[in-house]
Amino acid sequence: MPGPIQSIERAAAILRLLADGSRRLGVSEIADSLGLARGTAHGILRTLQGVGFVEQDDETGKYQLGARLLHLGTSYLDVNELRSRAINWADALAARSGEAVRLGTLLEGRVLVVHHVFRPDDTLQTLDVGALLPLHASALGKVLLAYDANAAAALSQNLLEPYTRRTITSAMALARALAEVRDNGWAAEVGEMTVGEASVAWPIRGHGGLVVGAIGISGAVERICDGKGQPKSTLVTYVRDAARAVSRDLGVSR
């Protein structure tokens, strides 16, 4: 097992220093206080600034604790922000796959639909942004559960409500399914929420790989799946590409 990582220790020290002080600190002050080279301190501060734990004053160039640190417990990416970052890629995914696209995040044991793109056939469809989907019976939900141990633990204690005969209703089966999701990197659901419907989803990752949401397509089983009842690999690839594009956008812009 490797020893403690020095730069993380130093970062923690910088945060303590900033948290103690009643005023902003400059790079030199911080470097002097901790006995670090100025360049080293600067590098750590820039990284902390990048993840929002530290903020730099525009005029003086001095540092203070970042607002995001105060909201560590709450969702760090606003769902409306997530939608506006994803909208281009969600559109392209819908156009390419020919299926409806949804983006979801976790909300109190359910999937909150934060974005919905109609299936591009110009039929009458209703926008269901704001709707809640079951975590264990949707592809979006399985992705969100697979990468959030707390949510998964909370859910397995409850009764898993059956929506169809195919819905996963045992905690054990769900755990197996989630492990498979982590292995594959994506989730599918075939007739588990609605008979005759299937969906595929991939995770959207923010800074440092944190899963902030899921994006997926859904539609009739015969369109989503191949003859063996497995999701068509082309569709899975389309969803993956969209998820990666959104993740890339979220990563580079902060």
């Binding site: 606003d78 281009n88 392209a92 926008l127």
Partner: protein, 753 residues
């Protein structure tokens, strides 16, 4: 088979984007780079053309890399660009003559002022379909020529070239000083004030007015046509389209049929309506512009409703107030409350654009109480965009006599579901977002791909359009009316904030001018029906004579009366829905005849007494807008009526009016009204210029037209005024006044019928 793509470059006001689209019109890669905004002096806005060129040099290969594609896979390149922004550069070195002067830049205001009221201005309006304004390119070119030593001489020698951003980029892409192609497209050229709107060529008279040497101008080409092959950045790639960004969005939304419209929500918002092969001149504060021209096909024209501040208000909320961290968070904050809490924000940050065109207006937040939280403010911010859209849609409906049945939207703000729902609610029509919100880029790509044969025809592009989302109106009609009325009252409170010194001028002659100006009304009927006006047709010269009257109208009547006063309700308190098949999109009680009665906004005589009020320093201000009432009232019924207040208007209307126009109150002239009476009123208002026509339907149109003519919320006249207001010194005023007098025709007796 190797996939092939079309590349679009969207050279916008704040950034340059490069997007690759595949054959299905689907986005494959996006790259973007912002450029610096230079504000060297108040009112000046500049961009560095070299920086923008370098940005393109970077993002184009990046986009290819993102898609894993090579230059060889790019079938064609199309450019959409911020419009009007002016670049001058040296033909031999390729170096710009200073920075680009951006469309928002107002340094040319005195230049434009000097034009006002002159015969030259009439020529500009007539040839270009636009009012001379700092917004457009020609004054910017003139300013640069006047203020850069030796530049005019170099330009006359053909050493200096002019272009908007697409010209600059195409010239550089095709080789720059080494044989670069110097071209522009009709849509961009239509925003310069140098192109004749009907011939689509530079016009000598216009060049003379602005003192622009022809040698420096690019060749005007169709929007979709191969201009040349790129020799730099994307060697060998065919450059085959250029459009102004808003026109590109119209194209990207595949609004190829007359009557189709789109609204793009960005920093500002722009509603463009395809008006077919003939330019329509607005009487409601809209601009006439070229929509697009494909190869040798005839040009398609558009009416444009420009809203200056929509997304910029959200940015201000974020950056100026710091109440949100990102623009999208406004929706989160707004959803934390159920309504606006009685609070309204009118973002007249630099005046109001369409349909008001009031540059002396400044923003307000009204209705503040202790109850109001930042959540309510966030609601009010979003609602401002909704109501401004409603105003422009109303103007569009009135100008075209067609009610918009659905609104196609695009742009970044369409990610805001709360806003989109609100827009559907206040317009009372479905709002649809296509499967590509990057319609500016998509439009440029479509045009380029069309010219390159990548797509065979418009029909194929049209089939690519798919609805990605739709919001249906869900607001209770009564609430909509009440809220809209509140919005109007809020808008009124922005007026007259910047005090222009010329307010007191030329009033006594102006009413007549206003009267005359009204007859310029080339309305466009649904079946291509163009109504001929009997009597003499008054053209732009006379329109001009009405300008100061317009100015006065803008001070008080900038909002069309029917939108300023609350909607009349016909007795039974339930507000009314638009009847099916009402070709005007007007609600009952909104028809021209009834509108006329309200608040006297259409009554030229009003200007007289308004002037009286203004001249009296002791007067506390304008009387509040009176609510319209649901029944006719007799003259003098209101005991508080100040003597003589509406005297002139009353005399003018004559006895037949008496029951209808009382103290500026309107009442419903719904379907139940006696047609004969309605016609009589029409005649009274139109005076001798009106030839009564037979048939109810026609009279209904007449009602609208009449309002158009007499209402001074006239874009053609109004927008010019706006862009000048507040900038005239006393000396200029008197000059302008003198010019007005010169142009004034012998007065007619306004009472003659």
């Amino acid at each position: 088979m190797v996939e092939r793509y079309v590349m679009a470059v969207d050279q916008g006001t704040s950034s340059t984007r490069c997007i690759l689209f595949d054959h299905g019109g689907r986005l494959v890669a996006v790259t973007q780079r912002e450029h610096k905004q230079h504000f060297p002096k108040p009112g000046w806005v500049e961009h560095d053309p070299v920086e923008i060129w370098h940005n393109l040099e970077r993002i184009a290969p990046e986009a290819l890399a993102q898609a894993g594609a090579t230059t060889g896979q790019v079938v064609a390149l199309g450019i959409a660009n911020q419009r009007e922004t002016t670049v001058l550069w040296d033909r031999h070195t390729g170096r710009p003559v200073g920075r680009a002067v951006v469309w928002q830049d107002t340094r040319t205001d005195t230049l434009v002022d000097e034009l006002s009221g002159s015969t030259e201005e009439q020529i500009v309006r007539k040839r270009c379909g636009l009012p001379p304004a700092t917004y457009f390119s020609a004054p910017k070119v003139r300013w640069l020529l006047d203020h850069t030593p030796g530049l005019r001489q170099r330009a006359e020698h053909g050493d200096v070239l002019f272009g908007t951003m697409e010209s600059w980029l195409i010239w550089n892409l095709t080789g720059g000083p080494d044989g670069g192609t110097h071209v522009t497209d009709v849509t961009n050229a239509s925003r310069t004030l140098l192109m004749d709107l009907t011939t689509l060529n530079w016009h000598d008279e216009l060049l003379a007015i602005f003192g622009v040497p022809r040698q420096m101008l690019p060749e005007i080409r169709p929007s979709a046509e191969t201009y040349g092959l790129a020799r730099r950045v994307l060697p060998g790639v065919r450059i085959s389209a250029a459009l102004g960004d808003q026109q590109a969005a119209l194209f990207g939304q595949t609004c190829f049929t007359q009557g189709e419209a789109k609204c793009t929500y960005g920093t500002g918002s722009f509603l463009l309506l395809n008006t077919g092969h003939e330019p329509i001149r607005s009487t409601h504060g809209l601009l006439t512009t070229v929509g697009y021209k494909i190869g040798n096909e005839p040009a398609v024209y558009a009416l444009e409703g420009s809203i200056a501040i929509t997304g910029a208000l959200v940015q201000w909320f974020r950056d100026g107030l710091g109440l949100i961290g990102t623009a999208a968070e406004i929706e989160t904050l707004a959803r934390s409350v159920d309504d606006n809490g009685g609070c309204y924000i009118v973002p007249a940050f630099s005046g109001l654009f369409a349909p008001h065109w009031r540059n002396e207006a400044r923003g307000v937040i009204v209705g503040l109480t202790s109850y109001v939280t930042k959540g309510h403010l966030a609601r009010a911010v979003l609602e401002a965009t909704g109501w401004q859209t409603r105003e422009v849609v109303d103007a569009m409906n009135a100008d075209t006599e067609l009610a918009l049945k659905a609104l196609k939207v695009d742009g970044g703000m369409t990610a805001d579901n709360l806003l989109m729902q609100f827009i559907a609610d206040v317009l009372d029509i479905p709002v649809m977002r296509p499967m590509a919100i990057e319609t500016v880029s998509l439009g440029a790509a479509y045009a380029a791909g069309l010219a390159a044969g990548y797509w065979p025809d418009l029909e194929v592009l049209h089939r690519n359009w798919h609805r990605a989302a739709q919001w249906l109106p869900a607001m209770n009609a009564g609430r909509r009316e009440v809220e809209y009325e509140n919005w109007h009252r809020a808008v009124e409170r922005t007026f007259d904030w910047i005090k222009p010194s010329e307010r007191l001028c030329a009033v006594s002659t102006s009413a007549r001018g206003a009267d005359r100006a009204g007859s310029q009304s080339p309305l466009h009927g649904k079946a291509g029906r163009r109504r001929k006006r009997s009597g003499h047709r008054i053209d732009l010269g006379e329109l001009l004579a009405g300008q100061i009257a317009d100015r006065r109208h803008h001070l008080f009547g900038g909002v069309p009366a029917q939108r300023r006063a609350p909607r009349p309700v016909t007795g039974h308190g339930e507000p009314q829905r638009r009847p099916e098949g009402d070709a005007h999109g007007a609600r009952p009680g909104q028809l021209g005849t009834a509108r006329k009665g309200e608040v006297g906004a259409d009554d030229p005589g009003r200007d007289h007494w308004r002037a009286g009020l203004e001249r009296d320093p002791g007067h506390p201000g304008l009387p509040p807008v009176q609510p319209a009432i649901g029944r006719p009232r007799a003259l003098g019924e209101d005991a508080n009526e100040p003597p003589g207040t509406y005297g002139l208007g009353r005399r003018r209307h004559g006895p037949a009016d008496r029951t209808r126009i009382v103290r500026g109150h309107g009442y419903d002239a719904g379907p139940g009204q006696d047609p004969a009476q309605r016609r009589l009123v029409d005649v009274l208002h139109l005076g001798q210029e009106h030839e009564p026509t037979a048939g109810d339907e026609q009279r209904k149109h007449q009602g609208i037209k009449e309002r158009d003519m007499i209402g001074r919320d006239n874009g053609a006249a109004g927008s010019r005024d706006v862009l000048q207001a507040g900038d005239l010194g006393p000396e200029q005023q008197s000059q302008r006044q003198a010019r007005q007098h010169e142009l004034q025709e012998p007065p007619e007796d306004p009472g003659a019928i």
